[in-house]
């Protein structure tokens, strides 16, 4: 569904992405992790052309995303993007946030857009908050509205850029559970995150990026239990808390927290 072919990108002299090749299948959930500044967010942002690339190509359903003949807005309408900082439109209610693009990009009638938005907000557990302004919502609620807003375009793939990094700890799990449900429903997901407990349980494959290079791509279980690369072992060791409790939420702890 998404294919990176030898993709490179530079900012001045720094190589942000270095000949990245990667294939993501339809319905697959891929978690991208790596130290800060490694290029993982940039990687995600190249998929809907928020960032240009210098060489190589990225194919979405066989279509060259950075090719000259592509209709940019049509591409973006098929690629949902969820930001670390939510980026809800503060002058619109939760419901209006989810209706704007379906009405003006897909040409949906207001009633149809409203019905679709309400259904998605209900799926996010936010049916009763539809009329709220973003500023009246908690961080976790805002991020769930942002996910509903992206899904309202019925995208072929959903990209999530550190969706829980800006949240207070007690709101992380409500957002992660929503994403897990999407993964189970067969949505194609690419998620940049530091929530390794989530990655282990939900991801089909985990990618480690370091200094713009793909270090390791492996099914979640083997990535965490038997990493092939020394760099992966170092990275995982660094994420372990110096204290007794692990930093990342283990799946068991995640469940305990929700129920």
């Amino acid at each position: 569904m998404i294919e990176f072919r030898e993709v490179s990108k530079r900012h001045g002299d720094t190589l942000v992405l270095d000949r990245v090749s990667l294939r993501i299948a339809s319905g697959e959930t891929v978690v991208v992790c790596g130290p800060s500044g490694s290029g993982k967010s940039t990687l995600l942002r190249t998929i809907n052309r928020l960032e240009p690339i210098n060489s190589g190509s990225i194919l979405l359903e066989g279509q060259d995303i950075h090719g000259p003949s592509l209709g940019l807005d049509a591409l973006r309408a098929r690629v949902g993007f969820v930001f670390q900082g939510f980026n809800l439109f503060p002058h619109l209610t939760a419901l209006q946030n989810c209706m704007l693009a379906p009405m003006h990009v897909l040409g949906l009638a207001p009633d149809a857009a409203r019905a679709r938005a309400m259904e998605l907000l209900a799926r996010m557990g936010l049916a009763d908050r539809a009329a709220a302004w973003p500023a009246q919502l908690s961080g976790g609620q805002q991020q769930r509205v942002a996910i509903a807003r992206a899904l309202a375009m019925q995208p072929a793939v959903l990209l999530l850029d550190e969706p829980t990094s800006a949240l207070d700890p007690e709101m992380v799990s409500e957002v992660l559970l929503v994403i897990r449900d999407l993964a189970h429903q067969g949505m194609t997901l690419v998620c940049v995150t530091h929530e390794l407990g989530f990655a282990r349980e939900v991801a089909d494959r985990v990618v480690l990026i370091d200094a713009g290079r793909v270090v390791e791509v492996a099914p979640a279980a083997s990535f965490f239990d038997h990493p092939a690369e020394e760099r992966t072992r170092q990275f995982l060791a660094k994420l372990r808390s110096p204290f007794a409790q692990p930093t990342a939420l283990e799946p068991a702890a995640l469940h305990a927290k929700i129920s």
């Binding site: 809907n48 928020l50 807005d73 049509a74 973006r76 309408a77 098929r78 690629v79 949902g80 993007f81 930001f83 900082g85 980026n87 809800l88 439109f89 503060p90 002058h91 704007l100 693009a101 003006h104 990009v105 302004w133 973003p134 500023a135 009246q136 807003r149 992206a150 375009m153």
Partner: protein
């Protein structure tokens, strides 16, 4: 002052109308409202063009804004009067001349206010809008401009009040607006200058002060929608130490 008002109120209000061209306060209001109505969209367009991704649009507009902001309004009025095609020496054309000068002059100032509002908005707003598939202009219209204009509303209003005051410069090119009428009345009465110009001052004060007050009311009432600041803008402003 009351005798001045008693004898000349009609002249102050409408000039020689209906026996001659419309003038006085009515003409001032007509000119002010027309200028504001045209300058605001013109300023928004110029502001957008200033930040446009297309250089061919950005540079000429930048030059226009710099030149106009670097000249006194009186110069712009003279330019319009002497150089605007078909503007001089014809019937009531002082009105068109003055209107053009006010729209261009205030459009340039409004453009900079609009630009500051656009630039102050977090980048993520445009990115989020574009990521949903909205085109550049759609994103501007539905996401960026509504927020940016709202954030610079106080500056916009003060510029619009300035525009009303600037209509008085029409006096220079013989436009029979309120100030022009006052000079006529003054030269007829000779000895009542204080009364005449006090009346002029009070009238402009009532007009512009009233507008500022109205704008402040609107501003405060938009509170609930303002979202980020529950309690409204008025409260947010008071919280800032003087």
């Amino acid at each position: 002052m009351s005798s001045v008002l008693h004898d000349y109120w009609a002249y102050f209000l409408v000039g020689q109308y209906p026996n001659g061209p419309l003038g006085g306060l009515a003409l001032t209001l007509l000119l002010g409202v027309s200028a504001v109505t045209l300058a605001l969209p013109f300023g928004v367009l110029l502001g957008l063009a200033r930040l446009s991704p297309w250089r061919a649009l950005r540079w000429p507009v930048m030059a226009l804004v710099y030149v106009v902001r670097g000249s006194p309004l009186l110069m712009v009025v003279f330019w319009a009067y002497f150089f605007m095609p078909g503007s001089s020496g014809r019937g009531n054309s002082q009105f068109a001349t003055m209107l053009a000068a006010l729209v261009v002059f205030n459009g340039a100032y409004l453009a900079e206010i609009v630009r500051s509002g656009l630039e102050a908005l977090p980048r993520g707003q445009l990115e989020a809008a574009r990521s949903l598939g909205l085109g550049y202009l759609q994103a501007m219209r539905h996401v960026v401009l509504p927020q940016a204009l709202r954030n610079v509303l106080p500056s916009l209003v003060s510029q619009l009040v300035v525009t009303i005051k600037e209509t008085s410069l029409g006096y220079i090119i013989g436009l029979t607006e309120f100030t022009f009428i006052a000079t006529q009345v003054d030269s007829q009465l000779i000895t009542h200058s204080t009364a005449v110009y006090t009346l002029v001052a009070l009238t402009y004060f009532a007009l512009c002060g009233g507008l500022s007050l109205l704008a402040r009311r609107l501003d405060a009432r938009s509170g609930p929608q303002a979202g980020p600041r529950p309690g409204g803008w008025a409260q947010a402003r008071r919280a800032v130490p003087a």
